[in-house]
Symmetry: C3
Subunit: 210 residues, 3 copies
């Protein structure tokens, strides 16, 4: 399978995962109707990619290509109809979110590299692709974004690890397709372990403990 | 009158309506001074068009052309000086908002078509143009955006109908100018009827009724 | 010293000041870990410049050039380690913020002029550069942005004065480098005087006094 195809499939799986995540979060935390559920699913799923592409100066792919919007709306509909069962389980939301995060950070970093950006920019753009959609979702729902919260169990750190894997591997000359899979697995594993064992990043000196 | 002129006039009327709407919302819901009133009027009036143009990859027209900023600041000043009377009446805010919404969704869809985007993108860009400014306004004021609220009486649906009219008419080969007027009237009518008769979109299964 | 060098140095000093300001604000008003502190410092420091560059249609300089990110992260680290002492003093935050604001408004206006935008656009883009990062920071922290608050002691007005100085001086044919220094000093002075003497902009007629 070509690198391009691997990245496209990972991207669409990430869009679906984030759409379900965003729609379930909307149902669980706010008073939204079907439009709100679909909009929040869509924003969570394609928001990070749009911010990345605006920063890269290209027309947003997640917006241009009808497959992204269709997959995102499908994820939102699934969450809308199954949400009353799924929301009792916080775990699926976290797993969908971890999957979306892992896939998006490697896609974002790979796209930045492909367009000729440097390694540091690739890491940042990967992380922005991963956390961007969820951050817009949280801002729209009036919540402090997960990426900033001291109780979020290492949200940004696995994102930076995943994007960093892609960036470093590119500098070392590895093939982008399978490196993306490896980076996504690393990000997903660290995120899930952090959730499981309640790892947190250091607080500012003098801050009361969590 | 040329299509171009019809669209420009509708656009500037929409800017004025949204500026008054945004400024009145600021006065009614937050503790803002004249700067805050004008900024929120300006953001509400030109925010949606800016987001649309950034997504389209063109320099924001509402920002480049001095007429937009001037009309928006004028609307904000009107609201500032008359606000203490107008805010007692919630209806004018809703009508100005419905007018701005209706005009912007058709302008946004028409601009996307003009720049060669597909019909699905035109519908989404029209809706984004319509709801974008108000959404930024609500985010700045720490409110859950109207477009997401389950009590908003079909905000996004008339927007999608108006933009959809322009998009479908373009596919069928109709003239853009008068189609825009028709799409705006459809959006406005549905929105006002939804407000009058308290129509709401379906809630997620299992959610408590409104 | 060349105009280009003066502007770059002012820009990096502004980035440092805003990064410290954003990171201290995060520590003082929310429950954030080291990632949150660094992200909020970074967003405050380079957010305004990114919004400006997106509106100008160019690749964001603050994002492309590694020096901006490095200086912003350094400012965030300083705030992280010294924050428990500094946060007891609200004054340093306000002074760092005033410095960042003053430097960014003149940089933003100068860059808009350099890219061929008109004087009105230059003033708006200067103000957006100055207030943009802090506004994104406040939105992420769920606070009403300083620029909108009736108690903010003229935040937008010094910004417009500083950017206006650069814009008017350009129309009159003055050299951009030293005009930028003068505009920044004017903005800083008015902002600090407004804080010291508690100046506020007019409230809407009929609003209860502050």
């Amino acid at each position: 399978m070509s690198t391009q195809n691997i990245l496209l499939i990972l991207d669409l799986v990430g869009v679906f995962a984030f759409a379900v995540d965003g729609a379930l979060t909307a149902i669980r935390t706010a008073r939204v109707d079907i439009v709100g559920v679909l909009v929040l699913g869509l924003v969570t799923a394609i928001g990070g990619g749009i911010v990345r592409d605006v920063l890269l100066g290209v027309t947003p792919a997640t917006f241009q290509d009808w497959r992204y919007v269709t997959v995102a709306l499908t994820g939102g509909m699934v969450a809308f109809f199954l949400g009353s069962r799924l929301t009792r389980l916080a775990t699926p939301i976290l797993l969908f979110d971890a999957a979306g995060l892992s896939l998006f950070v490697v896609i974002g970093a790979a796209k930045a590299i492909e367009l000729g950006f440097g390694p540091l920019q690739a890491v940042l753009l990967g992380a922005i692709t991963g956390v961007g959609g969820g951050t817009i979702r949280d801002v729209l729902l009036n919540r402090v974004p997960t990426v900033l919260s001291a109780h979020s169990h290492l949200y940004a750190i696995p994102a930076l690890l995943g994007a960093g894997t892609v960036s470093v591997a590119h500098v070392l000359g590895f093939d982008a397709g399978w490196v993306a899979v490896a980076g996504a697995l690393l990000c997903f594993t660290v995120r899930v372990l952090a959730l499981r064992y309640r790892w947190n990043a250091p607080l500012p000196p003098g801050a009361p403990p969590v």
